[in-house]
């Protein structure tokens, strides 16, 4: 019995429409959209497929050019970083709001998780990089402080010399394990989340979908125990995925960027990199939602509040982008340390100045100063457009950082000395974009999209069970003279 502030009895319980019909309506509605595959879909798939083939050609060309010339690999690594920053980070958009238990995520989470499948491409791209990672043998700086033979040289420290250094190739091992782990966790997360929907396919799908549903659903029956585990499992795996993501970006930013640029000691950078990943991930999901709504036929399921929620995230993240950048820029700018000045010269001023300004506009100025304006933020067209600008900006940003760094790695001999590292000359020009690099960049991005599209043929792009779950907790009720939305918060 519930009473209101005036101590008068108000209706005790809110009625939610979670009847069997309603639930059936949801799953049928989504399944019906899911079953049909338009010709347009195949046309686009073919287009992306061709681009992907080009990408593979570029990949082979790049490999054939050998590992000696580091500068030549800049664009390739930039692409790798870009994919890690977008497709691998997209699942965060499902994980974080799910932990926060917010309702607007429900139509989004599945699409975000499907992106983990694109991770297998990242693995493929990563393989050649193992040969490119600088080892500790030449006594370069590393998170592992120094290689074995350098251990003796360090007389000044008596505590942090862990048993005379670490194996020279430890970075390779760690990075490989981390990236592999990320992909595996991603797959696990996706599979967990689709189990109940696969069961739906198994029972109501037809043809090959039914077959695969039976294979993959592992006999999901939806017992209360299974559901209980479902929540716990997804929470735990999600948390692990997040930690692994941060860890991986920590690695990428150190092993692929900072060790190449003498004197680049920017302790904030790994966090910046991880933050870029979150921003890129949200942007990716935002665009995905837009296309699913426009071409995927999910107009009735992906509504304004999805774009609104994501838009608010994007707004906050683009402001954070500036803050992170400024926090490190301020410190480097204020001192006059030659090594740091050289780093600024390389990354902000110098040859990359105009590129940097473009990135600044695309990633911060444009999204932020338009999305503080309500009509833009609360629309189905505004946030996706800005998401697009952010993605382009992020790609350019990767190119600016990685191409620059690998260029220096080629030029700078100082990398081989441990102490007072300084760039003796800042490269004056941006290395030109080879045909192979162009193929790789276009091809592998197209490849990731292709993987996503094909995956949506088996897996419904909208999470059926989470969508059904919402029926239990959301109701529109009459409140005296107005209608209000009542939202339940389970657990």
């Amino acid at each position: 019995m519930v009473t209101d502030p005036g101590n008068r009895v108000i209706e005790s319980y809110v009625e939610t429409d979670n009847s069997a019909e309603a639930r059936k309506a949801v799953s049928d509605g989504i399944l019906n959209i899911h079953k049909v595959t338009s010709n347009r879909f195949w046309q686009f798939a073919a287009l992306f497929g061709i681009m992907f083939v080009l990408g593979l050609i570029g990949f082979v060309m790049r490999l054939s050019s050998g590992f000696d010339d580091k500068a030549a690999w800049g664009y390739y690594v930039a692409l790798f970083a870009f994919l890690m920053t977008t497709s691998s980070a997209a699942p965060m958009v499902a994980i974080a709001p799910r932990i926060a238990n917010s309702h607007w995520r429900r139509p989004i989470s599945r699409a975000a998780e499907i992106w983990t499948l694109a991770g297998c491409l990242n693995l493929l791209i990563y393989i050649p990089l193992i040969w490119l990672l600088p080892s500790l043998e030449n006594g370069r700086r590393s998170l592992w402080f120094y290689g074995q033979q350098k251990a003796q040289d360090m007389d000044s420290c008596w505590v942090f010399c862990w048993g005379g250094g670490v194996p020279a190739y430890s970075p390779h091992i760690w990075a490989t394990l981390a990236i592999l782990g990320l992909v595996v966790l991603g797959f696990a997360l996706l599979w967990l989340s689709i189990l109940p929907d696969l069961a739906v396919l198994r029972d109501h799908g037809e043809g090959w979908q039914k077959k695969w549903g039976r294979k993959l659903a592992l006999g999901w029956r939806g017992t209360s125990a299974q559901w209980n585990w479902q929540y716990h499992r997804m929470g735990v795996v999600g948390a692990f995925y997040f930690m692994m993501l941060v860890f991986v970006h920590f690695f990428i930013s150190v092993e692929f960027l900072m060790v190449h640029v003498p004197g680049w000691i920017d302790s904030l950078y790994p966090i910046t990199h991880a933050h870029n990943a979150l921003q890129g991930g949200v942007a990716t999901v935002m665009l995905t939602m837009f296309f699913l709504r426009k071409f995927g036929g999910y107009k009735d399921y992906i509504g304004l509040d999805q774009f609104w929620g994501l838009g608010k995230l994007l707004l906050a993240l683009s402001l954070l982008w500036f803050w992170f950048w400024f926090s490190s820029f301020m410190v480097l700018w204020y001192g006059k340390k030659p090594s740091e000045q050289a780093v600024l010269e390389l990354l902000v001023k110098g040859p990359y100045l105009y590129l940097f300004i473009t990135i600044f506009l695309l990633v911060f100025i444009l999204p932020w100063f338009t999305m503080i304006w309500n009509p833009v933020r609360r629309s189905v067209w505004g946030p996706p457009i800005l998401a697009g600008s952010i993605l382009v900006g992020t790609l350019l940003d990767r190119i600016r950082l990685y191409v620059g760094a690998w260029d220096v790695a080629e030029k700078s001999e100082m990398m081989h000395s441990m102490m007072h590292m300084e760039m003796e000359e800042v490269p004056g020009t941006i290395p030109s974009l080879g045909i192979a690099d162009a193929f790789v960049i276009v091809g592998f991005i197209a490849g990731s999209v292709l993987i996503f599209m094909l995956a949506t043929r088996l897996i419904p792009a909208i999470n059926i069970w989470e969508r059904k779950e919402m029926l239990l907790y959301k109701a529109e009720v009459q409140f005296h003279r107005t209608k209000v939305m009542v939202m339940g918060k389970p657990r």
Partner: protein
């Protein structure tokens, strides 16, 4: 107005005997309060120039190394931009000047200085009665609560410039009226003062000779990019690396 002078110093460690003559001269010239024992114990002694002494080698064959350290008058002084009230700034004669009236004593600059040559007046300065008449009239007595540091004896520079202008002659290099007290007092001529903008001055010649590859010259902690106006010439035997900052 653009001034042609860029004052600077050369300190030859090879010649320094650590006799502390420069320290005494500086104290007398610049009205620096007497550093009593407790001031040293409190680590609040004020020495605009100090001789740092480092022991080298193991007993019995142990050597003492001396290095005189005063304000380096850095071109990119870390102490200057952090002062909220412009109490210290870079004047157009290449010197890092301290304006006592402006200073409110945040001590930000003292933390910023990698050479620790900025001193804070923790107490009101005091002199024994006998020394009251010895104070130099050209130099302000600093009250408590403000920073102070080596000024390259700016009062001497001002006076000589003024007199040179009056007599219509050029300042001559190494003029004892122009030199800071420490330079005049140095028995072994290990401190040389002069104008880096004048190619014929002693300091410019030494800079020319010693700052190139293989020369003995170096700047203290130069890797910080402070661009000091004081050049040190290291000990002749190459094994020693006193104060050679990373």
């Amino acid at each position: 107005m653009v001034n042609s002078n860029k004052w600077g110093m050369v300190v030859d460690i090879d010649r320094c005997t650590g006799c502390q003559g420069c320290v005494v001269a500086c104290q007398a010239e610049n009205n620096i309060p007497i550093n009593l024992e407790e001031h040293f114990n409190q680590r609040r002694a004020i020495q605009w120039i100090r001789i740092e002494r480092y022991w080298e080698g193991e007993y019995p064959d142990v050597k003492a190394r001396f290095i005189p350290i005063m304000c380096q008058h850095c071109g990119n002084a870390p102490c200057e931009p952090v002062c909220p009230v412009y109490a210290t700034y870079h004047n157009d004669e290449g010197m890092n000047v301290q304006v006592y009236n402006r200073c409110i004593g945040t001590r930000f600059c003292a933390n910023g200085c990698p050479y620790h040559i900025r001193f804070f007046n923790f107490w009101e300065p005091e002199w024994p009665e006998s020394l009251k008449n010895q104070l130099n009239p050209d130099v302000t007595v600093r009250s408590r609560g403000i920073m102070e540091k080596c000024s390259f004896c700016v009062q001497r520079i001002q006076r000589s410039t003024r007199e040179a202008d009056r007599d219509g002659v050029d300042l001559e290099d190494g003029d004892r009226g122009l030199n800071p007290a420490c330079v005049n007092a140095c028995a072994t001529n290990s401190i040389i003062f002069g104008n880096f903008n004048d190619p014929n001055s002693e300091v410019s010649k030494i800079k020319e000779r010693e700052m190139k590859e293989g020369g003995r010259g170096y700047g203290l902690l130069e890797n910080l990019g402070t661009d000091p106006n004081v050049i040190y010439l290291k000990k002749v035997d190459e094994s020693v690396e006193v104060g050679h900052g990373h």
